[in-house]
């Protein structure tokens, strides 16, 4: 018994530096932010002194139940981000897997080339993309060669789905939920958002390619050969042998992808600041703007906590979907 206690103590002693650092720089700021999200603190002096108004759940209520600009902005940002996540995550995962499969057999040049965008500063790449997608930029010139009149990428607020459908049915524009009409909810990512999506898929797929590549090289060759002897086709070997072996990596890539895409900030900050017509507004950027522009720190942190909750729920849901099933 005595030696067990000593062992425990020693264990805690060893992890103490990490506990202190994590507590000081992660847990404590999070708890402080949680407190701020329950107050009407206006950014003057400390939020922990007497006199800072405590508003309870008001900041959260304004985001969800009160009809107003705050809720509309927040719901718009959620809508934008849902479309963003729904497009980026599958695309970047598929592209990363594809690149990894290609690169797995070939030499280092392509590995470096594909990984390059991931190690370049996202701000620098964003600025380059601003040029590529400008009205007379490379993308539109290529489209012009093909006889297509390219859109004005960063000033076009129309949603892609809205563009395909054309005139909205009245039933959708007259009714809605949570401050937006159904037609607004169903808009799809705007043309401007599509440009940002292209950029993000291109930059992040390199990192995830590296993870897939590491996993691919861990798969024993013998498995593949055994399947070959059994007469499996190339596609069967990929879908029945390689993919199942990649499942843990797939989970990792999807999780990191989900978290990263829900938190998208720097591309938005550099490229569009939420414009045109709020179609690239995301919760992370909205939180920043609400806190630092409107001095509404309570609401800003409330948004970030809702975002946190969304990410946790999505990750749990994904874990549940990808859980080990007993045959």
């Amino acid at each position: 018994m005595r030696s067990r206690t000593r062992e425990n103590l020693a264990g805690w002693l060893f992890v103490a530096p990490v506990v202190v650092i994590l507590g000081l720089f992660m847990l404590l700021p999070i708890l402080m932010a949680l407190w701020v999200s329950l107050t009407g603190w206006n950014g003057q002096g400390s939020p922990f002194r007497a006199g800072v108004p405590f508003v309870g759940g008001d900041n959260y209520a304004r985001l969800f139940t009160e009809d107003g600009l705050a809720r509309e902005d927040f719901m718009t940002s959620i809508r934008n981000n849902v479309y963003y996540v729904a497009v980026v995550v599958p695309l970047q995962t598929a592209l990363a897997l594809f690149l990894a499969l290609v690169v797995n057999k070939r030499r280092t040049f392509f590995r470096t080339a594909f990984y390059f965008p991931s190690v370049t500063s996202s701000v620098a790449i964003s600025v380059v993309f601003l040029f590529i997608f400008s009205n007379s930029g490379a993308v539109n010139q290529l489209l012009a060669l093909a006889g297509v009149d390219g859109p004005k990428w960063f000033s076009d607020p129309r949603g892609v789905i809205q563009l395909l459908v054309g005139d909205p049915p009245a039933a959708l524009t007259e009714h809605g939920v949570l401050g937006l009409t159904w037609w607004d909810w169903l808009s799809g990512p705007s043309v401007a958002m599509c440009a940002i999506i292209a950029l993000v898929v291109w930059t992040t797929s390199g990192t995830f390619m590296l993870m897939f590549l590491a996993a691919l090289q861990n798969i024993p060759k013998a498995l593949d050969e055994a399947a070959m002897i059994d007469g499996a086709t190339r596609w069967q070997r990929f879908s029945r042998v390689t993919l199942p072996m990649l499942k843990p990596t797939m989970f990792l890539v999807l999780t990191l992808g989900l978290i990263g895409t829900w938190q998208v900030f720097d591309q938005i900050y550099v490229m569009s600041q939420g414009n045109p017509a709020k179609t690239t507004l995301t919760p992370a950027f909205l939180s920043y703007r609400t806190a630092f522009r409107d001095f509404d720190y309570g609401m800003g942190t409330a948004i970030s906590f809702v975002l946190f909750l969304i990410i946790v729920l999505m990750t749990l849901f994904q874990r549940w979907v990808m859980r080990e099933r007993k045959a």
């Binding site: 600009l69 007379s136 000033s155 017509a277």
Partner: protein, 407 residues
Amino acid sequence: MKSLAFPAAAAVLLSVTACGSGFDDQQAAPRQQSSGPAALQVLMASSGDAETSAVKQAAEAWAKASGNTATVTPAQDIHQQLGQALAGSNPPDVFYVDASRFADYASVGALEPYADKISDSQDFYPKLRETFTYDGRFYCAPKDFSTLALIVNDDLWKKNGLTDDDIPTTWDELSAVTKKIKGVTPLTFSDTRDRVGVFMVQAGGWITSADGRQATGDSPENLQALQYVKGLLAGKQAQFAKALDAGWGGEAFGKEKAAMTIEGNWIKGAMKADYPGVTFSVHELPAGPKGKGTLSFSNCWGIAAKSKNKAAAISFVEAMTKTDQQLAFARAFGVMPSRQSAKDAYLKEFPTDAAFVNGADHAQGPVNAPKMDSVLADFDAGLQQLATQDPQKILARLQKNTESALG
């Protein structure tokens, strides 16, 4: 192992909050430093190297003459840096306050209302004093100001067979002349309230009442203005700068994609630096149904309510807003002095700026009310879609949002 986890974590947190007690500050007024030289911290949002070095020079001169010291720091993102400094109760003594953000700072008590202590404070343009007045108190001294005017490309003007007599002075003339210009877009400006707003002022409307307490967004005057602009856009007589592949009106104008633009006096510097070959002239904006109107932009020298060196800070601002000093700033980085007594001397040196300076008499400052940033961003989003949307709806939205922000 598990049983120890909670006490350990709690101990860590407790020790941490103990360190954090330094956060708590007294609500009472900050104690003023009474003797000895003051060390002023000045935070500026610089437009470029020219401004930074001019302000540093002026600060040094003041420091030498008064026996204090002044450290001038140009900010990367002044709102964020100020936000952090104010939250930490340790703001710079003196800092630039943008007119469009002034009410936010004043309403949370970050600013010291000192402006009436500056000598001859009635000399500042009345419109500028109004811009930096909150709840009836004149808070901070205007640093300088800019207004919008009509910038005309002289070559394109001549090429279209137009003369000086064709320079539009009314909305009707503007409609007429924009129909005559062929080959390029006649008029361009940015798709924000900071440009489209001039038409609202010319029609006699604005987003809020003069004291910033009432929402006046859905007035018939504003509707008339937006319908007029929508008409210009529909006939391609005017196009937003973004549609011409430009970040702002000056860029589209400099690239000669448009014959006219609505911009402020900063365009002189931009044209000289980026498009030296383009000859242009500056004219007052055409008058609307309710007469002349333009918008003004300005910064003031804010003094932190929590500053420990208020007396020295006021003396610093006093030196910075002297007529001679403002003229020196004007020469260095092309701003217009905020004092009426400097007007004649300024016009003598920069006669082509008459249209900008004269704008001061009928210029509307930015919306002077707190918590309006997201409302105005929403209005901008509406204006971006002016070509396809109903102006009435855009204004109704603005009205509803402004009302709820003003409370």
